[in-house]
């Protein structure tokens, strides 16, 4: 049996009330009003960092060395050429003898990556494949995309043992349907008429995919516990369910109201949402949309009980929220307006890529060392043990800090250090099990930081060197989620 063996999700902590966006830009296009709120990635988050966060959730309790492939789906890669999946695999500290690939250029590819993972395991070329999907799509100021697009990520592990939901079948349709597009080098989507997208796009392809799947798998829609499908339009989302003859209780909430439309990761996030409430025997259908559609049928097994409640998933991330009270902050976080950083803030020292290569596991994986003689964990990797009365030379073994919690030894909120979200908060972390280092902190208000508070590590974007086209990533300390 091949199917889902674990799942995880990530929703950035910041949520903005759409009324706030409308108040700022509604004067321009008054028809853009939408109710609810949406999730906004912090200034130091992007698709890669969110993909890592969802993947870490998915990897809870799993042996990372058993992963044979990592597929990443997004339409918002930081690089045109440098594989995001490779960055993510290093962040997870996976083995090097694995297969990695980016699935991109269409918001459909989250499910395509899932199907490819299934095919790989089914064919026996991999035992465990982790799929991550994330998107951080932006709309122009005053556009409906700006109101509706939300940021988020999901991760699904496909394997053949401990399957919590087996893949029973799939049905795909592919059309060069150009409802929206973004050419090389562009930041914003172009979009054709809404009525065209609704009538020819969502209402036709999603129904075609689900009907095709039902027919192929000899499935009566009445026997489906949950159908998870995306739709930009809340009204049409309901309408599609009706046309398929689904009871509203069978339709997974598309989270348009509290997260927004999250692009590539959207179907996978909905799938995670469905799995969180699933019980053994449930049929779950997940459908994507974008230049066609993939529909996948999963059957939930008894094993689901081992995973349920042990992941942060959708629910815990939804609950861990902070209100973003400024529209201007939101667009500054995405670099959509030029902001004054000062001469000092603009200085980005060159990244030595040969250094990054040597130190990749330390920098991207937060992997330190542990002295085999005295057992002291230390970061970064040391050749000579830092414990004063030890000092053993070249007696180190790898030691992962990324998955360790710690407590905040000390901290400050700094008004002088340049930050896109001042004050810059940073501190020294003492890790559970030993080891100490200093880190930036993020997703936190100065008022809520306390000495000794529990923290965990989060993979973030450290800097963008626009001149050299480098996105630098490292780990920051955050308050423990949930």
């Amino acid at each position: 049996m091949v199917g889902i063996t674990s799942y995880g999700a990530y929703i950035p902590r910041y949520r903005i009330d759409r009324g706030r966006i409308y108040k700022a830009m509604g004067w321009l296009n008054p028809a853009t009003y939408m109710p609810g709120e949406k999730a906004v990635a912090n200034f130091d988050e992007d698709s890669v960092s969110m993909g890592v966060a969802a993947g870490i959730d998915c990897l809870t309790g799993m042996d990372r060395k058993e992963i044979d492939a990592l597929f990443f789906a997004t339409t918002t890669s930081p690089y045109k050429e440098r594989q995001s999946a490779g960055i993510i695999a290093t962040a997870f500290d996976l083995r090097p003898d694995i297969r990695t690939a980016d699935f991109t250029d269409s918001v459909k590819t989250g499910t395509t990556a899932l199907l490819s993972a299934y095919d790989a395991v089914k064919a026996g070329s991999a035992k465990n494949v982790i799929v991550c999907a994330a998107d951080c799509r932006v709309g122009k100021a005053g556009s409906s995309q700006e109101e509706i697009f939300g940021d988020g990520a999901a991760s699904i592990m496909i394997g053949d043992s401990g399957v919590i939901a087996s893949l029973e079948g799939s049905y795909s349709v592919s059309y060069d349907f150009v409802d929206h597009w973004r050419a090389d080098g562009e930041i914003f989507d172009h979009q054709w008429e809404d009525r065209f997208i609704r009538d020819i796009g969502y209402n036709r392809f999603i129904i075609e995919a689900i009907s095709g799947l039902a027919k192929k798998c000899k499935l009566d829609v009445k026997d489906i516990a949950k159908v998870a499908y995306p739709c930009l339009y809340a009204g049409d989302h309901k309408g599609i369910g009706k046309k398929l003859g689904l009871d509203p209780a069978q339709v997974q909430d598309p989270m348009l109201n509290n997260v927004g439309y999250t692009g590539t990761s959207n179907p996978l996030m909905l799938l995670v949402g469905a799995l969180e409430d699933a019980k053994a025997g449930d049929n779950i259908v997940v459908v994507s949309f974008g230049n066609g559609s993939d529909a996948l049928l999963f059957k939930v097994t008894d094993e689901i009980e081992k995973v349920k409640g042990n992941r942060r998933g959708i629910k815990k991330h939804l609950a861990a929220k902070r209100e973003l009270t400024s529209y201007e902050k939101m667009i500054s976080f995405r670099n959509l307006i030029p902001v004054e950083k000062g001469i000092r803030g603009e200085v980005i020292p060159p990244t030595a890529l040969s250094e990054l290569w040597r130190s990749r596991r330390q920098v991207l994986g937060l992997c330190g060392s542990k002295c085999k003689v005295c057992g002291t964990p230390q970061y970064p990797v040391q050749k000579i043990c830092v414990k004063p009365d030890c000092g053993a030379i070249d007696q180190m073994e790898d030691y992962l800090f990324a998955d360790k919690r710690g407590h905040l030894f000390t901290y400050t909120g700094d008004m002088l250090a340049f930050s896109m979200n001042p004050p810059a908060i940073y501190g020294i972390v003492d890790f559970e099990g030993g080891g100490r280092y200093w880190f930036d902190m993020t997703d936190v208000d100065q008022e809520s930081v306390k000495v000794d508070m529990p923290v965990e590590m989060s993979f973030r974007k450290k800097y963008i060197d626009a001149k050299s086209g480098i996105h630098g990533y490292f780990w920051k300390a955050i308050p423990v989620i949930g």
């Binding site: 700094d414 008004m415 002088l416 001042p422 008022e447």
Partner: protein
């Protein structure tokens, strides 16, 4: 400074000197300028706060600044005395309760154009 105990919470009374407003106070790292002394009704009491701005333009090691609210505390006696230099002084009770601090910070962030809030 005087300490007194009421219902388990340690309260601290302090003297607040009303300095000249809109006058630069300079340090080697920068300067600040208190602009306005304001009073706010909160939970049936009066809270004194000062609005000002600061520039940190010569500090080791950075550049910054802020527009701030300093909150000395609840007004106990308003300009009831003068100090040795003839400046009027008020007596305040510092705000120590964390919930009140959080709430007041929220109120002032909405009401005033500020980026820093500091309680005495």
């Amino acid at each position: 400074m005087a300490f007194f105990q009421t219902s388990g919470v340690l309260k601290v009374r302090r003297i607040y000197t009303h300095e000249d407003l809109n006058k630069e106070v300079r340090s080697i790292a920068g300067y600040y300028i208190p602009e306005e002394e304001k009073r706010l009704n909160y939970n049936g009491r009066e809270v004194l706060y000062v609005i000002g701005h600061a520039a940190i333009d010569n500090s080791c090691c950075g550049v910054g600044g802020c527009r701030y609210a300093l909150i000395p505390g609840y007004v106990v006696a308003w300009k009831n005395k003068t100090d040795e230099t003839g400046k009027p002084v008020s007596e305040v009770e510092t705000i120590v309760d964390e919930d009140s601090k959080t709430e007041l910070a929220g109120i002032l962030k909405e009401k005033e154009t500020i980026t820093q809030i500091e309680f005495w």
